[in-house]
Amino acid sequence: MNSKKWDKVATGVLYFIAGIMILILAFLLIYILVNGLPHVSWHFLTSSAKSFQSGGGIGVQLFNSFYLLFLAMLISVPLSIGAGIYLSEYARKNWLTSLIRSSIDILSSLPSIVVGLFGFLVFSIQAGLGFSILSGALALTVFNLPLLTRNVEESLNTISESQREAGLALGLSKWETVLRVVIPEALPGIVTGMILGAGRVFGEAAALIYTAGQSAPPLDFANWNPFYIASPLNPLRPAETLAVHIWKINSEGIMPDASQVSAGASAVLIIAVLLFNFGARYISARVYRRMTGGQ
């Protein structure tokens, strides 16, 4: 066969494989949405789960997911910005810095189940937090920190050195320059990374099954006192999230409509991830426009 023919054959094969790839991916999305969306109703989204009967909802789990996400981001965003600034602005080129970078790399590549077990051991047992939102939020922070930090560092690195020099030459400290000049400019990248991180946290389950726990006691949405045991805000109550719920009902299988509930919950998860994705794109485009002053 000559090379022209080979070229045609290879191109055909590539088209074929890319086609299969699109089919697989499309199937995934369509399967989840088609099977899940019919089960999603206002009732499903707001009522609490039932263990042995059908007709339960995911209201508590949904709330837990958002609350955990909020707490985890509350801790990890400032920490990652601080560490990102250190790596991009202060760290000198030496063995210590490369050691720090390697540790962050290693942390980001750890299996999330290992992070979850570490959280179980340290936060739930040794710190006495038990299966609680707080323990879960800390585990999610550990899971989230390295990627957020890397993202902050990379976003800061894209900002031209001349911007820093401009600030320094005006007698501002490095820290002021970073905070008031460099970070505002790097904001689109930072915010995008944060939202994508939030999406990752929202769907995480393995880090949570032994930290935030696998049970969702009913909540009293009329009492928002964080010290009240059934208060939605109580950070010391166990809190099964949506993702953990999907895993739990599928591996225990005592719920009669487990597959319908999972399908609905999966659809909700996917839609949330979609929203995080679009949100990230939208916000970064908007912030970028505002920062550069274009109309």
Binding site: L168, G171, L172, V181, G293
Partner: protein
């Protein structure tokens, strides 16, 4: 290119009794890592005059300029020895507040680097950080500095548009306005017109001549005509040494050493 050796006798010494010195260096060495970029330069700069630093690329003139307000601090592995005397103090000495020093020794860079903020915010940003909050005073500051930088008439109606929407020449003048908004003693300019078209260049030059009454200006340039047009003194840099320093007219019409003559007549560079 011939090898030229540095000799003190071609460096005009300014007598502190006759000339008011704004800043001077004594045997200044600057090195990055293991390679030395400046091999002991001693120059003095008179107050309210424009001094041009000329020389081929790699001659060390920019490095020298950047060490005058310690902008090289931010480059890992930079080492400075010798003295940089400003108001009786060595600015590299212990206990020197580098941020305070940079307020008085401002700098404008080769590429215009306005903040991605509005024109107004570019100018008021640093003064605000230093405690100037009065709206009227800020407005006044914006107006006077933009007028000094010959930019006011072009931008007075849209002070709140982004600085990035300005042309390159306008951006550079905004950077000059931003620098003088700090009311510095000394203004260092690192080839401020090299990225600009001829018309913008001449506007920037006019701006500098107008600023001379209030500021001591030290400018790095590779444009000999520019140096001749605007400066009172000229220092010729070559391979990390200042080879000749004198009043500009002397350097250009009657250079004492062959190297300077070769350079100003365009034989290398």
């Amino acid at each position: 290119m011939k090898n030229y050796t540095a000799d003190d006798k071609y460096i005009k010494a300014l007598d502190p009794n006759k000339h008011e010195l704004a800043i001077y260096t004594d045997d200044l060495h600057v090195s990055y890592g293991s390679s030395e970029a400046i091999h002991g330069v001693s120059l003095a700069f008179e107050r309210f005059k424009i001094t041009a630093l000329i020389g081929a690329s790699g001659s060390g003139k920019s490095t020298y300029l950047r060490s005058l307000n310690r902008m090289n601090d931010n480059i890992d592995g930079t080492k400075v020895t010798g003295k940089i005397m400003y108001r009786g103090l060595d600015i590299n000495g212990p206990g020197i507040n580098v941020y305070e020093m940079r307020k008085h020794i401002g700098m404008v860079f080769q590429r215009p680097n306005p903040f991605s903020k509005s024109i107004y915010d570019n100018i008021t940003f640093a003064p605000k950080r230093n405690g100037l909050k009065d709206k009227n005073k800020l407005d006044e500051l914006v107006e006077t500095t933009l007028k000094q930088a010959a930019l006011w008439n072009q931008v007075k109606d849209d002070l709140h548009q982004s600085a990035l929407a300005l042309s390159g020449g306008q951006q550079q003048r905004l950077c000059i306005a931003r620098a003088i908004a700090m009311k510095p003693d000394i203004l260092l300019l690192d080839e401020p017109a090299s990225a600009l078209d001829p018309i913008s260049t001449s506007t920037v030059e006019d701006t500098l001549l107008a600023l001379k009454d209030d500021y001591t200006i030290i400018i790095v340039t590779h444009n000999m005509q520019q140096a001749a047009r605007i400066s009172d003194y000229t220092a010729f840099f070559h391979l990390g040494n200042a080879l000749e320093f004198d009043e500009t007219s002397n350097v250009f019409t009657n250079p004492k050493i062959q190297a300077t003559e070769d350079y100003v007549s365009g034989r290398f560079g």
